[in-house]
Symmetry: C2
Subunit: 248 residues, 2 copies
DNA sequence: CGTTTGGTTGACCAAGTTCAATCAGAGTGG
DNA sequence: CCACTCTGATTGAACTTGGTCAACCAAACG
């Protein structure tokens, strides 16, 4: 089993325990995968985006651009995440996808996704569960942009990424590998990269986190959660699981 | 047929033409409805929120509160909208619901919603389509909070509400009934009500919109779309339908 | 090596918030 | 019918957060 299949399976296993034949079905879905270079963009008119992308490895993000050239990142995509589920039901233009690192992703046609959902209802349920999770994450980002300070947003995003990575068996509670640039953070958080830089400096000076050389290191996770008003419940792990991770 | 059933049916008819038996099924789903007073809140521990709410008439909104008491409105709910679909798949706490006007809503159990989806696949598809639409709306609000100015956000929201209302056969291209307070707008747009007030004054002075006495009146819709960077494509009506409504 | 990409810093500026009043309309009790 | 109260709208002045402009730096890479 490759690492990538591991990510989706690890994630799905948080939802239910797939049977051997369900696992085989997942592997079949992920069979038609492809490697994309770092920092490329798939726009809405791209042929690939007629399908759903399932990330096996690497990081990317979904985004919308405004006519004036400003870009808003909707969500970062890590292994095990789906891109373009919405496009199955909505005919309008969906989001754009951009890779951050090199990315290995499977392109699955809406048709086969629907077919699998019909034949393996529990897999269909897992897909809807994953889509719900991504919706919840987008809503929490909405809360962040609307009601959190710049420092709170940065802290919140770093904590969220940490939890999501642990969810697929990557990173640890003390830190994680993070290939984002400060510009990426800014585009996701509705800030400028200059201000993100200043916020990161302050968080470092306060002894809360260090983000340097593509590594996030938590120094005072509890303090960080305070300024972020972070409550992991929106990530779908019940409060018990949340307590287990954070020890409180 | 009551007005409320009309709203949901009108909306669904944009997606596909339901058969007589599908219409009957919808009416059955909406049978168990209830009237709620204006300005009440259903919190996450409420019994009602274990079910999905389908609005028949009246306005409400979904929200999340931060520990420090700040509230972020995720989306306004108008007749034909679903509340709580996400809770079916995600066990974490979903959002809170608050009524704005008096609201008539049907409470549908996740179980019967799933049963209907299985027996009437096209209705199931319409539900997923509606959920996708709401997700797209939330994402567009995310873009607004991240990358639009205060005036752009206000303008964008008013235009969005107008389109959504026309979608269910309410309001017209020249204006609509809008029971929101400036405080509601502020809570949705990540602003203070004081600043919303100033922005509305400016939009009025510029001869773009008037929002007064619960009525929105568009004076220069095209100019408003410019400062809002408004492109209705995210609302799922293809660009053709969009052109039909806006004449460009 | 030179170039490019991303990070860092400072001085200044502007959008939006906070605080503090005032005002208008709707409902309520006397 | 009239005070009283409550909610939401409105405005001004001072202030803060984050943005803009303009450098400069450091690592990576051809």
């Amino acid at each position: 089993m490759t690492i990538g299949e591991g990510a989706l399976l690890t994630k799905i296993s948080r939802h239910f325990s797939p049977s051997a034949s369900e696992i085989a079905e997942i592997k079949k879905l992920l069979g038609n995968h492809h490697e994309y270079a770092a920092r490329i963009e798939l726009l809405e008119d791209s042929e690939v985006l007629k399908a759903v992308l399932i990330l096996n490895s690497g990081w990317g993000y979904s985004f919308r651009d405004l006519p004036n050239g400003l870009r808003q990142i909707i969500d970062f995509m890590i292994p095990g995440d789906f891109f373009g589920l919405r496009g199955i039901f909505l005919n309008g233009p969906s989001l754009g996808f951009a890779s951050i690192t090199a990315v290995d992703a499977a392109a699955v046609s809406p048709h086969s996704l629907l077919a699998v959902s019909r034949q393996w209802p529990r897999l269909g349920g897992a897909i809807l569960w994953s889509a719900s999770l991504q919706g919840s994450i987008a809503e929490e980002r909405l809360v962040a942009l609307g009601r959190r300070s710049a420092a709170g947003r940065v802290a919140h995003l770093l904590l969220e990424l940490s939890v999501r990575l642990e969810f697929i068996g990557q990173g640890s509670s003390s830190g994680f590998f993070c290939p984002l640039t400060q510009h990426d953070l800014a585009n996701a958080l509705g800030l400028t990269s200059i201000h993100v830089n200043r916020v990161l400096r302050r968080l470092r000076q306060l002894g809360l986190v260090v983000f340097r050389n593509s590594e996030v290191e938590f120094l005072d996770r509890s303090g960080l959660m305070d300024i972020a008003h972070f409550d992991a419940a929106y990530l779908g792990l019940g409060r018990e699981a949340s307590r287990k991770i954070f020890g409180r």
